[in-house]
Amino acid sequence: MEGMLIRKVLLLLLMLVLLSGCSNHGIRIHNDSADASKAEEILKKDQRLTSAVILFHEKDLLVGIDVDTFSRFHKKKIEKEIKKKLEKSYPDLTVTVSADRKMTIVLDKLIRKNEKDMGKKIDQLKSLLKEET
């Protein structure tokens, strides 16, 4: 009976691993104020990222990143590194980088809907990210 149970667990784990293979890669960009090519390059160079969303809006540059499984341990460090690089390339813009899922969810939504009150939504998102548990 024990053997059966263990085999079932292994099968379950295998399925989970296989399922995990199907995640969307690539970089989505929304641009209405500045040149995005530099940002894209910085993000593409980083091997630890699996996907990213870039959004330029007026004086804001928002970047949502998705890091690969084991890099998640250093999520905070990666955020900081990318933020520094982006700030160097875009000195006039306020840069916000986050690996939080909420960031990508909201940015994707904003890009899709292309809403008018984007500025307000962005401010709200920024304050959300500052909250601690």
């Binding site: 399922l19 995990s20 499984t69 998640r72 341990f73 899922r101």
Partner: protein, 119 residues
């Protein structure tokens, strides 16, 4: 979506540690849970619990170890701002949603449910 797998595995492994405390160390459930809470608290002292949450999501926030982590984290955040007094004020400031939810739902349950001795 690898976060689901890491949540499953890390959460499962923390429970396996608990099971080993039950079976091998012969601890009672209460002793086991207290030990795990203290472990969570110490891990946060070394700054190791937050990365684990980043890695495993709910796999690290759902086990009881995260309770120790949350309390320690709150206390340390205050201490960082206000020094030694902050440890105390931080202790009183942090509340765990787990405790409040348990109190509230526990009371509601006592209003609506009766215990049944069914096997």
């Amino acid at each position: 979506m690898s976060i689901f797998i890491t949540a499953f595995i890390v959460g499962g492994l923390i429970c396996v540690v608990g099971q080993l405390m039950f079976d091998v160390a012969k601890l009672t459930p209460a002793h086991t849970l207290c030990t795990l809470v203290v472990i969570g608290s110490i891990l946060d002292g070394f700054g190791m619990y937050e990365p684990l949450i980043d890695f495993a999501g709910a796999g690290a926030t759902i086990p009881i170890t995260s309770f120790g982590n949350a309390l320690t984290h709150g206390a340390m955040a205050e201490a960082e701002k206000h020094g030694i007094i902050g440890v105390l004020t931080g202790m009183f400031e942090v509340t765990s949603s787990g405790i409040s939810a348990a109190i509230l739902f526990g009371f509601i349950a006592s209003l609506i449910f009766k215990s049944e001795g069914k096997a």
